[in-house]
Assembly symmetry: C2
Homo-oligomer: 459 residues x 2
C-alpha cells in the first residue's frame, strides 16, 4: 500500500510550519496588544450545535463523526432507521453521528459564551486560531482542513471596538510588511437604508447579494440580476446612483447622507461609520501605509451582520479578500442568549501565506530554526562537538551535529537540505587547536573561531 493523505488536506513541512507560525504569532501579538484573550474550543462539537447554522449548503459540508461501538448496540432496527436518515436527508441530525467537526470558529464561540455567560466578564474579547473542516470540493486555495484566525468582542455596543479592529488589521499587515493593503468599510445599515428608500426593505437580501457581486460581474450583471429579482427600472437606476458615489471618504459619506436622507436607518449607519473612522484616526500610526476606504459597494455575504462591515484586500497580488468581519447584533441568540451585540474580524491565513510567498515577504531567518550544524569529520571529536553544541544551546542558539559516519560531501549535502545558515567543521587540526572552522552557507565564506567567538558571532 502506497501511503497517502485525504484529498484537500496537507502535511506542513518544517519550513511551512515556521512560516505559518510567523504569520499566526504576528497576528496573535497584535490581538494581545489590543486586549484580546485566547480561547480554544474542541474540534468536535455536538452535531446539533452546528446543524442549521450555516444554511443548507453549510449543513451539507459538515463532516459528521460516526458514533463508536455501534456493533455492540442491541437495537439494530433503530440503528438502521438512523442510517436511513443519512441516505435520505443530508440535513438531519441522525443519532449514529452525534458529533461533527467544527465548521467555523464563530458558532463555537457563541456556544461558549452562552454556556459560560455567568463566569465571563463582558465585554468579552477573545481571539481564536484553530483549524476548521469543510467537505468542499478541493481546488487551488480551497482545503478541507484550514485554519481560521478570528478576534471578536461580545457585550459591547461601543464603536471603539470597530476602531480597534480596524487598527488591528492595519497594524498586523504593517508588521507582516504586506504592501498595497486597503481596508474597505461600509455599514449594513446603509444597505438597509437603500432598500428602505427604494421601497423594497423586504428584498434587502436580494439587493445585498446582487451588489456583493459587483466586483465579479460588473454593473451590467448586477443590473440584470436585480431585474431578474423583480426590481423595476426606477429602483435599479437609484441603486446605480448609490453605487456610483465616489470621492474621498468624507465626500462619500456626505453624498450618501443626502442620497439616503429619508432613511433614519441609513443616517444611523453613516454616523456609525463616521464615529468608527474618527476613533480609528486617533489610533492610526503614521508608519501604517495601508488605507481605509469607505466603499458602499461592499456587502459581505454572511447574513448575520447588522452594522459596520469590513473587508481587507491587497493590490499587490491578484487575490480575493484576505480578511473580513463586521458587527452582528444577535449571534448568541441562536443559543438562547438575547441582546448581546458583537463585532469581529477574521484573517485569511492561507491566502495571506500565498501572498507573502509570492512576494517573498518571509524574513530569511523564519525558514530555518537550527542556526549551526557541526559536521562529524573524526569520531575522536565527538565529545568536543557535544560540548560545543551544549555551550551554544546554553546561549540560546539552536545547534545540531551530524551523528553518522559519512564522507564530507554527504554531510555537506545534508547541511544544504537542512537549510542551516552555518556549518561548523572540526577536523584534526581544529580539534588540536581548540578552534572551529565556520562556513557561511549563504556566501560560502569561511572563518576560524574559538567557541566564545562562535557564540558571539551567532548570538
Amino acid at each position: 500500500m502506497k501511503p497517502s493523505i485525504p484529498q484537500g488536506t496537507r502535511d506542513f513541512s518544517p519550513s511551512d510550519v515556521r512560516k505559518r507560525q510567523y504569520i499566526l504569532n504576528t497576528i496573535k501579538t497584535v490581538f494581545e496588544l489590543y486586549g484580546y484573550q485566547p480561547l480554544e474550543t474542541p474540534s468536535m462539537e455536538n452535531l446539533q450545535t452546528l446543524m442549521g447554522k450555516y444554511g443548507e449548503e453549510g449543513d451539507r459540508l459538515i463532516f459528521k463523526v460516526l458514533n463508536n461501538g455501534l456493533h455492540e448496540k442491541k437495537d439494530k432496527d433503530k440503528l438502521n432507521e438512523e442510517w436511513g436518515k443519512i441516505l435520505d436527508k443530508p440535513y438531519s441530525t441522525p443519532a449514529i453521528t452525534e458529533r461533527a467537526l467544527r465548521y467555523d470558529l464563530t458558532i463555537p464561540f457563541a456556544r461558549f459564551v452562552v454556556m459560560h455567560q455567568n463566569d465571563l466578564a463582558f465585554p468579552f474579547k477573545r481571539y481564536q486560531m484553530q483549524p476548521v473542516w469543510r467537505a468542499d470540493r478541493p481546488q487551488r486555495g480551497r482545503y478541507r482542513e484550514f485554519w481560521q484566525c478570528d478576534a471578536d468582542v461580545v457585550g459591547s455596543n461601543s464603536l471603539i471596538n470597530e476602531a480597534e479592529l480596524l487598527a488591528i488589521y492595519h497594524q498586523a499587515f504593517h508588521l507582516l510588511k504586506v504592501p498595497g493593503i486597503s481596508v474597505k468599510i461600509n455599514s449594513r445599515k446603509v444597505l438597509a437604508g437603500l432598500a428602505e428608500v427604494v421601497g423594497h426593505s423586504d428584498q434587502l437580501t436580494d439587493i445585498t447579494v446582487a451588489i456583493d457581486k459587483l466586483d465579479k460581474i460588473g454593473w451590467e450583471g448586477v443590473s440584470k440580476e436585480l431585474t431578474e429579482r423583480g426590481l423595476g427600472a426606477t429602483t435599479i437606476s437609484f441603486v446605480e446612483q448609490y453605487l456610483n458615489i465616489g470621492g474621498s471618504n468624507e465626500e462619500r459619506l456626505a453624498a450618501m447622507e443626502s442620497l439616503l436622507e429619508s432613511s433614519a436607518m441609513a443616517q444611523q449607519g453613516i454616523k456609525e461609520l463616521r464615529d468608527s473612522i474618527q476613533y480609528f484616526s486617533i489610533l492610526k500610526k503614521a508608519a501604517w501605509e495601508s488605507e481605509l476606504v469607505v466603499d458602499f459597494t461592499l456587502a459581505r455575504g454572511l447574513n448575520y451582520y447588522t452594522g459596520v462591515i469590513v473587508e481587507v484586500g491587497t493590490s499587490a497580488v491578484k487575490m480575493g479578500s484576505i480578511g473580513g468581519g463586521g458587527r452582528y447584533d444577535d449571534l448568541t441568540g441562536l443559543f438562547g442568549l438575547k441582546g448581546l451585540s458583537g463585532v469581529g474580524v477574521s484573517f485569511g491565513i492561507d491566502r495571506i501565506y500565498d501572498v507573502m510567498e509570492e512576494l517573498g515577504l518571509f524574513p530569511e531567518q523564519v525558514a530555518s530554526g537550527t542556526k549551526v550544524l557541526f559536521l562529524l569529520m573524526d569520531e575522536a571529536a565527538t565529545t568536543q562537538v557535544l560540548q560545543y553544541c551544549s555551550a551554544l544551546r546554553d546561549a540560546g542558539i539552536p545547534a545540531d551535529m551530524y551523528t553518522e559516519q559519512a564522507k564530507f560531501d554527504k554531510q555537506m549535502k545534508y547541511a544544504n537540505k537542512r537549510n542551516v545558515p552555518f556549518v561548523a567543521i572540526i577536523g584534526s587540526d581544529e580539534l588540536a587547536n581548540k578552534v572551529i572552522t565556520l562556513k557561511n552557507m549563504q556566501d560560502g565564506t569561511q572563518s576560524t573561531l574559538d567557541i566564545d567567538q562562535l557564540i558571539a558571532h551567532l548570538a
Copy 2:
C-alpha cells in the same frame, strides 16, 4: 436547547490556553535548541493508514468520519452493505468512512516519512505538537481530544540521539521548574536477554507485560501472572533476581552484565545504556536537579520499541508517568520503507499541566495577557484614553480600556474578572493634569504617573 460540548472534550478559557501555551512553548524552545524541526500533519488520515496499527483495542477507539454526500450516491445496495460492516465488524475499513481522526502522532509521522523519503534529509529530526482523538470512556485525566507533544529522529543509529533526548527531558523540566523529576532508563534488549537466558524468548511479550505491572501489583502479582502464563519456578526465581538488582547506576549495570552474561543481546543492551549515559553526562548541566536512573523494571507497554526505553515521573505529586519514549527499529516498515531506525520521546501535556497547577508552578504573569486596563470614568476622556492605549501598545505593552458607560464599581469588578495586574484611572483631575492614577491590583497601592512614567513602569 441548552448548549453543551461532547463528553470527554474541553473548552480552554484564556488562562487555560496561556498556561498550556507556556508549557508547549517551553518544550518547543528546547526541541529547537537540539535541532528538531516542526512538522504538522492533517487531523484526518485515510482510515486505511490507521487501522491495524494500534492493536484491536486501538482500532475500536478510532473516530471514523462519515463520507459526505452519501444521499447523492446511486448504488444504495453497496452503501447498505458497507453500513452492514460497521454493525458487524468494528475493525474493518468500510467504504462509507474513508477518513478517520488521528489517533497518535507516531503513525502519521511514519506515513509522512515514507511519502517524502526522497525529499527528506536523513537523519530527520522532527517535533510535533497537535491534538489526537480517542473514543475512550472519559474519566478524570482521560479525554477524547488531547494534545501529544513528540520529538523523534529517524534514520540514525547513533546513541547521541538517545543522550540528546535525555537532555531534552532534563532541560525542559528544569525550565518548567517541576521538582522531583526522575528519568528512568532501560533497554528492550536487556529484557529480551532475560527472556533468552531463561529459555523463553518466545514469551518475551508475556514477561514484559507482567514486569510492566510491577509498580501496580507488586512482586507477588507479577509472580502470579508469570505462573498463569505458564512459566516455571526456576524462571520466576530468576526474574525475581533480575528485578531485585539495585545500587548506583554503575552498580546496576555491572550486576546485570554478570547476571545476563550468557546473552549477547543483553550485553549489547547494557553497552547501549552505558554509551547513552556517557554521552548524556557530557551534555548534563550542574543546574539540572533531576536524576537519571537505570531501572531494569521499566518495560513500557508499546511493542514497537526495540532498544533504549525511557520514562519520566515526578515524586512531588501522586501521578503516573509524564513522559516516555524509546528506540524502534522498524516503524516505517509498516508503510514499506525498511531499515530506518528511529528514537523518540513524548511529553504528557495534560498531566504536566495538572502537576504544575497542583504545585502552583505557573509564573504569575502567564495567566494574564493584558497588562493594564483603563477605566472610562468620563466620556470626555475617551480620546485621551485611546491615545494612552496607543502609546502603550507602541511600547509593546498590551493595554485595554473599558468602553461602556458604567459605574466605577462595575468597572472595577470587570477589571478583577479580567485578572489584569494594573488598572488606570482617568478622572477629570487626571485629565486636566495629563496624569494617570495607576492602581496595582495585587497589593492595592496607587501612584500618579504621566504616560512616559507609566510606560517605563510597565515595560
